[in-house]
């Protein structure tokens, strides 16, 4: 897939809660084909302290409308500046970047596991799986019921299970404590979320011999494999999260 540098126009900036928002972007040219797990590197304007681009997973793609969405958590000055963009503003992106989740084999039982802002690539993945005749189950973990986001969107693509740490909705606890994990006999798990969650899921998958891919969120410099800053330790040595990932099969990770 050829990478592009392009200005895209903001067509919607939707606040989801205090910390999260989605940006919908539209291209003046036809947007390229993208796959779940891939990401963009966004140039941040209007934030003097922000020097590098910021990576964001592709959250949702609408080819007929020529738009796609990013789900962004306000984590610092850069993302704060992005949260202030309004319809018609331009955002410079390098995209599409990185590898993508691999499709399961026919007949495999699939579970998507995510939490917090880490659910960003999973909506696109859930819809992509559905369009390829796979119906995934989706297990989402949040801190409390106020933090739950996009429940309805996920429900359209598969059956959604919830955990909250305080038990205010769904099963109390963290995702690996949800009973659906053991009761349904999944063959493949796709996971993206906070590192502690992903590590717990990886451990569960190893113990139960379940195939698993995780999408990592390492700090990035360039996003195109030039700076070698975003490496993760793997059985093949240090690999760049930006070009060899962000999606890794857990058999390759030294977690």
């Amino acid at each position: 897939m050829t990478k592009r540098i392009e200005f895209l126009r903001i067509t919607e900036n939707k606040r989801i809660n205090k910390d999260l928002f989605t940006l919908e972007l539209s291209g003046s040219e036809r947007i390229p084909e993208m796959k779940p797990g891939q990401f963009v590197q966004a140039k941040i304007e209007g934030s003097p302290g922000t020097f590098l681009r910021r990576p964001f997973s592709v959250h949702d793609v609408n080819y007929p409308q020529n738009t796609f969405k990013l789900l962004i958590s306000i984590a610092g000055r850069g993302t704060e500046a992005l949260s202030k963009l309004v319809n018609g503003d331009l955002l410079n992106l390098i995209y599409p970047l990185g590898n993508f989740f691999t499709l399961p084999k026919k007949g495999q039982r699939i579970l998507l596991v995510g939490g917090g802002c880490g659910i960003a690539p999973l909506l696109f993945l859930a819809k992509y799986l559905k369009s390829n005749d796979f119906i995934p189950d989706i297990l989402l973990g949040f801190r409390n019921k106020e933090r739950i986001i996009e429940y309805d969107e996920y429900s359209e693509a598969g059956k959604v299970f919830l955990t909250t740490e305080d038990g205010s909705r769904g099963t109390k606890g963290i995702v690996t404590e949800h009973p659906v994990l053991s009761s349904e006999g999944y063959d493949v798990i796709y996971c993206c979320g906070p590192e502690s969650m992903m590590k717990a899921v990886v451990k569960y998958c190893r113990q139960n011999r379940i195939e698993c891919e995780v999408s990592l969120e390492n700090l990035m410099g360039c996003g195109i494999g030039a700076c070698l800053c975003c490496v993760v330790e793997t059985v093949k040595g240090n690999l760049c999260t930006c070009v060899d990932g962000p999606v890794f099969n857990i058999n390759d990770l030294k977690w």
Binding site: L52, N218, L219, M220, I224, A226, C227, L228, V231
Partner: protein, 305 residues
């Protein structure tokens, strides 16, 4: 048509815009964005005798107008380079220069011998200024005696043009540049990164796994320009300016201060097209100012007009 070419001895460069080692991969990372052959040259990733995994993550921290890195020369070693990367590099119609690194003088000598046998590599950049390796690296470039020894040893076996990349982490860079010239270097490039550090206040730990790292980006540009200006007046070999060049205007500061060529580094991370934009901007500037040859502005501020 403005003349943009420059030479190191009899090695000709079509223009003076090169890309800095460690910021442009092996060129192919940028093929989707630009025609690498438009550039005067590319200096490919720092290469060592043995493969290196580099330092542990995190290796990068964003800082005001710049970034710290402590990659630590991750690369697959000279054998892999010769076998798998060198054959691909010949597709570029530009000067491909290899940046070499070692822990001991013998490493540098062995690498220089190996690269000297590669027909399509016209020059070596001797990296005596990497701040991110435990052994060697910057230690070679901050002590005059050691710098003399390593330059002398490499010169003896290097049949290619020899560029020595200087460290800014010294008291008087002019002394070091003079030593390098005395030992037969064909050119000096400067500056490598400045030793720096950042602390992650939330995690209450150093931002980098190695604690300290190399600072690059516009934050270091005034230091780089000052050093290029000093060195250009002290040596007779071409000076290649490096340090926080993002725009053509930034590059022109270096030329006016005495650089014969420049390298674009960290800017390529944010704008992969930075190098060609800079090249185009330099050409426009010369046209607008009525110069016909970039040589006319090299060291312009040091001459009386």
């Amino acid at each position: 048509m403005v003349k943009l070419d420059f030479s190191i001895g009899d090695l000709h460069f079509k223009n003076p815009v090169l890309t800095a080692s460690g910021t442009f991969g092996y060129g192919s990372e940028f093929d989707d964005f630009l025609d690498v052959s438009r550039l005067g040259g590319i200096i490919v990733k720092g290469t060592t005798l043995e493969p290196r995994e580099g330092n542990a993550y995190p290796r990068m921290a964003e800082t005001p107008s710049g970034m710290l890195n402590s990659v630590g020369l991750q690369n697959k070693g000279i054998d892999y380079f010769e076998k798998n990367i060198y054959p691909v590099l010949s597709k570029y119609n530009t000067n491909v220069i290899v940046n070499i690194n070692g822990s001991y003088i013998d490493d540098y000598v062995a690498l220089a011998e190996r690269i000297s046998r590669l027909e399509k590599i016209p020059a070596i950049e001797l990296n005596v200024s990497c701040p991110n390796v435990k052994k060697g690296g910057m230690a070679f470039g901050t002590d005059i005696g050691t710098l003399r020894e390593v330059t002398n040893a490499v010169r003896a076996v290097c049949s290619k043009k020899l560029i020595v990349k200087l460290s800014p982490n010294v008291t008087n860079i002019v002394d070091l540049a003079r030593v390098v010239e005395e030992e037969g270097a064909d050119s000096v490039s400067l500056i490598n990164t400045l030793l720096g550090m950042a602390v992650d206040v939330n995690r209450m730990k150093p931002s980098l796994s190695t604690i300290t790292g190399g600072l690059s980006g516009p934050a270091i540009r005034p230091v780089a320009i000052r050093m290029v200006w000093q060195v250009a007046q002290a040596v007779n070999i071409p000076v290649i300016g490096i340090g926080g060049i993002v725009t053509a205007g930034d590059a022109l500061e270096f030329f006016l201060a005495g650089a014969s060529a420049i390298q674009v580094g960290t800017a390529s991370f944010i704008d992969p097209l930075a190098s060609v934009r800079i090249l185009e901007g330099i050409e426009d500037y010369l046209n607008n100012k009525g110069f016909s040859d970039i040589r006319e502005i090299v060291g312009y501020i040091n001459k009386s007009h």
